[in-house]
Subunit: 405 residues, 2 copies
């Protein structure tokens, strides 16, 4: 008998009607002949409400207690969903993360899963029950509840699929799958039938936020094939799996975009060892993730370093860098928050030349100036003015014929 792990996000269980609908979909899957394990997130805005509750009593909620609080959201969801399944005549049981045998490390509010011992899940499946597991949580070595941080429920689903050697893992969300680009920008953006882990990672990192990168990484590591699909439609969704050569026979699979970037440049700093370490050490200490980094060629033993950070981190980054600028005797420290990023993503481009030149030429034809360029094996990213993002995405989507299958 095949085993499926189905994951439903918070918007899918936001109210009683939606919970009943989800219960119906789960039972339909069971009737197809699967053993079913369901992973569910906290209902709707509950996690935000709980965070607000904590904010009412303290500015710095202690992480252990925050986890005790946040874990109640998913616990409420599993109980309600198990009730809805039973109300439809389907045997079902809810399990919290600890009850399901999900073990995590001690890093509260962003713990990693260390091990899954699914004895209880297997015993309940053997009783022909649907097992509803709380996402986002596990038991740590102190026997405390630990939550897994952003995207934790997806991670729970992928990790359970791996531990249970599931035949299928379905991530239900409010979109129908992974698109060639943001459908809000390009109306003829096309849903992809399949995509590789690496492409999905690049699309996610560049702003296509269907899933957090860490879940995709775990799926890749354990070779868990999963399908991203909609809770509210029967469309087949996008299958995410290991790279298949000439998959769909396309070169480029999608255009990613990120409006919320900011560019920082440090101008005229001495070209000596340790400079980059000082700059990015200071940013790392301040907890700021740096994205693209470009260091211009040294002229007269002087360098420029430019890089992008998330727009929300800009102020913090500038604060951290001001003393560095002084220490390095740099001429200037310049911030530009009116930038964004477009990226062409595709496993196919590894074996095809001409993708980069086509990208640059298309942008040039549209009179869009490129401020920074960064490339990886399966992605070419350009930083451009934020005002040109929509135009750039449209131009590139057309140039690479992504509207056509």
């Amino acid at each position: 008998m095949s085993l499926v792990v189905m994951k439903f996000g918070g918007s899918s269980v936001a109210n009683a009607e939606k919970v009943k609908h989800v219960a119906g979909r789960i039972i339909a899957k069971k009737k197809e002949g699967y053993k079913v394990v369901v992973v569910v997130s906290a209902p709707g805005d509950m996690t935000d409400d709980l965070i607000e509750m904590a904010a009412g009593v303290t500015k710095n909620p202690p992480p252990r207690e925050m986890d005790v609080l946040l874990a109640t959201g998913e616990q409420a969801s599993i109980a309600i969903l198990a009730m809805a399944l039973q109300a439809k005549g389907q045997a079902a049981i809810s399990l919290t993360g600890p009850q399901a045998g999900i073990y995590a490390d001690v890093d509260h509010t962003r713990a990693r899963i260390t091990e899954i011992l699914p004895k209880k899940i297997l015993a309940e499946l053997a009783k022909r029950r649907i097992v509803v597991v709380a996402g986002f949580q596990g038991l740590n070595p102190n026997l405390d509840i630990a939550t897994l941080g952003r995207g934790g429920s997806d991670l729970t689903a992928i990790a359970l699929a791996a531990a249970l050697k599931a035949d299928l893992c379905e991530i239900y969300t409010d979109v129908e799958g992974i698109y060639t680009t943001d459908p809000r920008v390009v109306t003829d953006a096309r849903k992809l039938d399949e995509i590789s882990y690496d492409e999905m990672l690049e699309l996610a990192g560049a702003g296509a936020q269907v899933m957090q990168g860490r879940s995709v990484e775990v799926a890749k590591k354990y070779d868990v094939v999963f399908v991203v699909r909609s809770t509210f439609s029967t469309a087949p969704g996008t299958r995410v799996h290991r790279e298949v050569r000439h998959m769909e026979n396309v070169v480029v699979s999608g255009i990613a975009l990120d409006r919320k970037q900011a560019k920082i440049s440090i101008v005229d700093i001495p070209d000596r060892p340790g400079v980059a370490a000082k700059v990015f050490g200071a940013l790392g200490k301040a907890g700021i993730n740096v994205d693209m980094i470009i260091q211009s060629e040294a002229i007269d033993r002087k360098n420029d370093i430019s890089f992008t950070v998330s727009d929300g981190d800009l102020k913090k980054a500038m604060k951290a860098l001001r003393p560095v600028k002084v220490a390095l005797e740099a001429k200037d420290l310049v911030a530009n928050s009116n930038v964004g990023k477009v990226a062409v993503v595709g496993v196919g481009m590894r074996s095809h030349s001409g993708v980069a030149s086509k990208m640059f030429q298309s942008l040039a034809d549209a009179k869009i100036n490129i401020q920074m360029i960064s490339t990886s094996e399966i992605k070419i990213s350009c930083v451009i003015s934020r005002d040109h993002i929509d135009d750039a995405v449209k131009v590139l989507h057309k140039a690479f014929e992504l509207d056509k299958k």
Copy 2:
């Protein structure tokens, strides 16, 4: 070092301001030199909200899942309260019922505590932390969460005080203690400094709903002295303990009342063995608690049986009794929902004669007709017309000089 168990109900932690206030009171107690264990209920209306959530998906929530759902209320409370304590600089840790070593039986939604193994609590107290324990919940033999039913948080506090051999147990609520009668009826009702378990049980059973009877029974069984006092005042409250002879040197300690009674009479039934068993067997099967029972003397081998039930159970009771009436060939089955009960309660009356006659005379002087009478060692109850309840309580409160110390 002395140990105190402090219990706060849902209204005491209904919002952030109240939680902060409660945290302040707990810290003040710790500064008096106590080791402190706190038991807390779900915040405000959260339990009702959760029940409503379940009602949205099913008419008959499965009890196991109901417990998974309801337990989240107290879990949210312990986290928030531990946060508030830490925000005030006080080391504190939250423990769910299972983490605290509270074990229960498998009777979901109304489990009994079977055992408390407070190893973790003691370890945390040794680290000079305040330990905040979720009321109303424990771990059952299936390793499932079980809730303890109505009054469960009081029960948790009393049981923990017994298991920890606490020097003091304080039940914080929204009234200042136990009163000689309902202050809404008699304005000069007086707060009692102390009361015995038995008197408190009689007062509770007769409608003075400060605490559920089962918690008082457990306190009595394990000789746990506790104080009922207000969260929002520093008044000393009422001390509840084993009977002390001539406690306060009074005969009567309070007047209890219950407006929500209904009287049922079965008229003219044959006087033969097994009749009462049939009547009360049918009611027991329907889950109806019967309070006072009076069987009149047999005349011509025919009996009348009258008894009271809670007004809310009247319809169900009549439905259960109609076939019994037919089977017993009784002449009539009569219901009267316009009745209530007043009771005079006091350990002192055991050794004093004249309490009953004074009660009946006082009611007669006020032209209040007595429909039924029932007595126990420390209580005399009368069923009267519901319209006369307030007058009766006032008359009796004055007659027994309860306004005077």
